[in-house]
């Protein structure tokens, strides 16, 4: 290796830069700002999310802590969770009923909107007709509307005094309508950008090889959409499980149409806070499982798609 020799002796005469211009000072200020900013964010997060969720889970699992006289030395604390109390809370008949109702309703709704979401996204991306832009903006309406507004409108529209001569008050159909309404944007917006980014080349290739429209869609387009569809499914499912405002009115009183959220609300009105915490914790765990699963599956499919 040949490199030009450097005259080191000359460099020794050059003084170092003055303090004010150095990296170290810029770095110190930047580190300090990051530290302060980070602390503020973490403190806020703790106050608003971490501590309340911790309190929720602690009450839900009936966690008791004995400090063993050591005060703040938490490595000596004795933490005990009463899982049997938790279990009996959530396995009471009304609780189970509410949880299962929420589960299957959310699943059905997320599934229906997954299919419709793809159809709607397809029309929005691939089709062209006057007024399409209006429909595009329309999709976000359920997302922007406050849930109570949805609840009140749907109740009066489809409930006992409905001008359409239907009565969906205290029926699963009524609940489903509300849930389909509020989860629609998630399903559509998850798929739309992915569909828009497909450049049509793969489809053109398939058509040139003789594949018809439906086959091209099923074998070429759909596989690339799967991660987005699954992501949208997960979001819609999570939203549906937690939905309260839009279904609380049409669900009516305590009974067959009480979803998990309404059930928890009823518990709080009856001051049964521990039970409320228990069912909430169960729902929290469910939501986590669903989110992690859909994320993992979506990532798996994504990986297979990008490596192939």
């Amino acid at each position: 290796m040949v490199s030009l020799a450097n005259n080191d002796a000359r460099d020794l005469d050059v003084p170092p830069a003055p303090r004010g211009r150095r990296y170290s000072r810029a770095r110190a200020t930047s580190l300090a700002t990051s530290f302060v900013g980070g602390s503020l964010v973490v403190t806020y997060l703790s106050l608003i999310v971490l501590i309340p969720i911790a309190a929720l889970v602690a009450h839900g699992l009936s966690i008791t802590v004995q400090t063993n006289g050591w005060g703040f030395a938490f490595w000596h604390w004795d933490v005990h969770a009463d899982l049997s109390a938790f279990w009996s809370s959530i396995t009471q008949a009304p609780a189970l009923h509410a949880i299962f109702l929420s589960l299957w309703l959310s699943f059905a709704v997320a599934a229906i909107n997954a299919v419709m979401g793809v159809a709607i996204a397809w029309v929005l991306v691939r089709d062209r007709f006057p007024g399409k832009g209006v429909i595009d903006a329309f999709i976000d309406l359920p997302f922007a509307l406050p849930t109570i507004v949805v609840g009140v409108v749907l109740l009066v529209l489809y409930g006992t005094t409905s001008p359409l001569h239907v009565d969906l008050f205290e029926t699963w159909m009524g609940l489903m309508l509300a849930l389909l309404f509020v989860t629609l944007p998630f399903s559509v917006r998850a798929v739309q950008p992915v569909l828009a980014s497909l450049d049509g080349e793969a489809e053109a290739a398939a058509k040139s090889l003789g594949a018809g429209g439906i086959r091209t869609f099923a074998w070429v387009v759909l596989p690339s959409l799967w991660p987005a569809v699954l992501g949208g499914f997960g979001l819609a499912f999570a939203r549906a499980i937690g939905e309260f405002g839009s279904i609380s009115l049409i669900a009516g009183g305590i009974g067959r149409t009480t979803t998990a959220s309404s059930f928890i609300y009823n518990l709080t009105q009856a001051f049964l806070w521990t039970d409320a915490a228990a069912v909430s914790t169960a729902l929290l765990i469910l939501a986590l499982i669903v989110l992690i699963t859909t994320n993992l599956v979506a990532r798996q499919i994504q990986r297979r798609l990008s490596s192939s």
């Binding site: 460099d11 050059v14 170092p16 830069a17």
Partner: protein, 311 residues
């Protein structure tokens, strides 16, 4: 006055990206750092600018040891491969940015910006936004922006990499001319050997974080110190177990050269013709010759020919 780099070293974990690089860059020259991807050339540029921190070594710019100095204060101009335009500012505001930082009076800034706009031939685009410019125009704006602060050294990181072939050649000529006008010390990083050979006063070939060879472009081409430099700077082919330049092989009629063979393929690239031949010793080198030379031979695929090494 010049730039001295001594024993510059940069590591990412176990990987040594820049390995003990020492170089003198003469004032006012245009130095090209040429190397394949991963050779460390962009990192070297970032180390000189201060955008990356050195693990070892010293950087001295015109007598100032700037090794531990923040990039803000090094008085350098930097141009990025994707231009890094301030998207929300007009071209004029982009160019004047460095001057506003230095708190120069408004009318002075306006005059300087106008001057630079004339220099880079974008006076009609002063109030346009970067989104409305072509790639070549954006890079010219980036150059004007860097030159506005009258830097001691201009660093160009693969400045033509994102441009298409024609614009690239145009801009290359234009930067050369600019450098003639404004004799600012310039260091250009590129992986394009032709570009480096064309533009550089001094050429540094980088490989695996080290400088393989440095010197004048033609000198390196004719007298490569290592196989890497030889293979990197120009086309190569194998003749009698020796690596040679295809244009150093002469294509002759059968019986006139030192070894016999037949023509396997002929590729015509406008002025240049590339002929792959099968020789009697089993090897198949290719020969580079001009169109006229080839036509004068009256040979085609399958013809009998012979080869001789020139000079």
């Amino acid at each position: 006055m010049s730039i001295s780099l001594s024993h510059l070293t940069k590591r990412y974990g176990d990987h040594v990206v820049v390995d003990d690089v020492s170089v003198e860059i003469p004032s006012g020259s245009l130095t090209a750092v040429l190397g394949p991807s991963g050779s460390g050339k962009s990192t070297l540029l970032k180390l000189i600018s201060g955008l990356e921190r050195l693990d070892e070594g010293r950087v001295v710019i015109e007598g100032d040891d700037v090794t531990s100095v923040d990039p803000r204060h090094r008085d350098i101009g930097f141009c990025f491969q994707h231009y890094a335009p301030f998207r929300h500012m007009t071209v004029a505001k982009n160019i004047g940015f460095g001057l506003r930082v230095r708190k120069q009076p408004k009318d002075q800034i306006a005059a300087k910006v106008d001057e630079l706009l004339e220099l880079v031939k974008l006076p009609h685009k002063a109030d346009a936004y970067p989104a409305q410019l072509s790639g070549g125009e954006r890079q010219r704006m980036a150059l004007a922006r860097a030159l506005a602060i009258e830097p001691r050294v201009l660093l160009l990181d693969e400045p033509f990499g994102a441009l298409d072939a024609i614009v690239r050649t145009e801009l290359r000529e234009w930067v050369k001319e600019l450098h003639h006008q404004i004799k600012v010390t310039t260091i250009l990083v590129t992986h394009d050997q032709e570009e480096a050979m064309d533009m550089a006063d001094q050429l540094l070939i980088m490989h695996d974080g080290r400088i393989e060879q440095s010197g004048e472009p033609n000198d390196l081409y004719d007298n490569p110190a290592t196989t890497f430099v030889h293979d990197f700077l120009g086309p190569t082919t194998s003749f009698k177990d020796v690596t040679v330049r295809p244009h150093d092989l002469e294509l002759l009629r059968a019986g006139e050269g030192s070894i016999e063979g037949t023509v396997l393929s002929v590729t015509s690239l406008g002025f240049e013709v590339q002929v792959v031949v099968q020789l009697s010793d089993g090897s198949s080198p290719w020969v580079q010759l001009s169109r006229n030379e080839f036509r004068a031979l009256h040979v085609g695929v399958g013809s009998a020919i012979s080869i001789r090494q020139r000079g």
